[in-house]
């Protein structure tokens, strides 16, 4: 099957290229870049040197393919939706354009132009197989949720389903620098960013409505930029509203994720690796989830690679389902340790 990437020179685009070049069925036929048109993929993605002869294409020259992945800054995919619909049977968007159904939330976080996109959002199946696997099998348009939202939703939804969430949830999210894309600027300048613990989103983060929409809980986020390039970790503070024991929380998660190919439960009481952290997930499509608790508080922790499970990997996993392929196709890299 033929696949293309719009926004192929960005960080998400590069990760899509890596995954598609190693995919057993999907063949990468085009990756677009305005800056690098005509140059080999490795100009932007040095890890891909030697993987073939593909060069970047002008975004105006997209051929028709089976699957088109779009990894553009927000607003751009929506602006070209009509035209792109002609280009591929299956459209997978990684931007925020068609994630939010609530027009008020869309306007608050993405401006007035986002209100119309919210109206179009229900036509897109969320690219979250753990929650929407059946709908994805027949999807022709997919919108992949945000990276921190994915980590938070997967940690919180099973607790909500088990009646273990009472009131708001505090979601502390920590993120690496690749989450902001590859355009240089003062916040990402190395001397400023290298050792930072910058609480850049103390209140009101735009992933809050995504969490509400998919996990059914009101998340109050605080986001900190941490000294890492890749990786997201979420620490969610949940009040269960009643006594809850470890076994009950284990049951909630096991029930939700039994047989899930990319969710692992990590809640050990011994050793160095008791709770999820991103470093051993880099490059992998896993989302690790764990928890600890005391008498009236559950601390749920999840971790993933923002560019993989939080973006390109989640997109490929979803596209695999929509294309009738084995869900793990192209996504078997397990991550590295030490790292």
């Amino acid at each position: 099957m033929r696949a293309s990437i719009l926004g192929g020179a960005g960080y998400v685009g590069g990760e899509l290229a890596r995954l598609l070049l190693g995919h057993p069925v999907l063949d990468l036929v085009q990756a677009t870049s305005r800056r690098h048109t005509g140059k080999p993929l490795h100009t932007a993605h040095p890890n891909l040197r030697g993987t073939g002869d593909l060069a970047f294409t002008d975004p105006a020259r997209l051929e028709r393919v089976d699957v088109l992945f779009s990894a553009l800054p927000h607003g751009e995919f929506a602006a070209r939706l009509g035209e792109l619909s002609e280009r591929a049977a299956l459209l997978v968007d990684l931007s925020p354009d068609f994630r939010l159904h609530d027009p008020a939330a869309a306007r608050r976080h993405y401006g007035p132009g986002a209100v119309d996109r919210a109206a179009g959002a229900p036509a897109f199946v969320p690219g979250l197989p753990e929650l929407y696997r059946d709908r994805l099998r027949t999807a022709d348009r997919i919108a992949v949720p945000g990276c921190m939202a994915t980590a938070a939703i997967l940690a919180l939804r099973p607790l909500a389903d088990a009646g273990l969430v009472d009131g708001d949830v505090l979601v502390d999210a920590r993120t690496g620098s690749s989450g902001s894309g590859n355009t240089p600027g003062p916040a990402g300048h190395h001397p400023e960013r290298a050792s930072t613990l910058r609480v850049y989103g103390p209140v009101g983060h735009r992933h809050e409505p995504e969490i509400a929409q998919h996990a059914g809980v009101r998340a109050r986020m605080t986001v900190t930029a941490v000294p890492a390039v890749r990786g997201v970790q979420v620490v969610a503070q949940v009040r269960p509203g009643r006594a809850a024991g470890r076994a009950e929380v284990w049951d909630a998660y096991r029930k939700a994720y039994a047989g899930e190919p990319f969710v692992r439960l990590v809640a050990q009481r011994q050793g160095l690796h008791r709770l999820p952290e991103p470093r051993m997930l880099l490059g992998s499509n896993h989302c690790d989830i764990g928890f600890d608790l005391d008498e009236d508080r559950i601390v749920a922790v999840s971790a993933l690679d923002n560019l993989v499970k939080g973006a390109a990997g989640g997109a490929v996993q979803s596209a695999n389902l929509a294309a009738g392929l084995p869900e793990r196709s192209g996504l078997t890299f397990p991550g590295l340790h030490p790292m």
């Binding site: 470890r246 076994a247 284990w250 096991r254 439960l265 809640a267």
Partner: protein
């Protein structure tokens, strides 16, 4: 463990999952819980009772 071996089942003290053990399992043996991968120690037999395996105390931080 093959299915036709005589087994006894005990509950994991951490996650509550059932842990199947050979009927001749002895006290102090260490098993890994299939539900949560905790290392468990057999602390009593008849009935089989499991506890989190003791760990060499390390300072895991701070």
């Amino acid at each position: 463990m093959s299915l036709d071996t005589l087994t006894e089942r005990a509950a994991c003290p951490d996650c509550g999952a059932g842990v199947d053990l050979a009927a001749d399992t002895g006290v102090t043996e260490i098993v890994v819980c299939p539900g949560c991968t905790a290392e468990l120690e057999v602390v009593a037999v008849g009935p089989l009772t499991l506890a989190l395996a003791p760990e060499i105390e390390e300072d895991w931080g701070e």
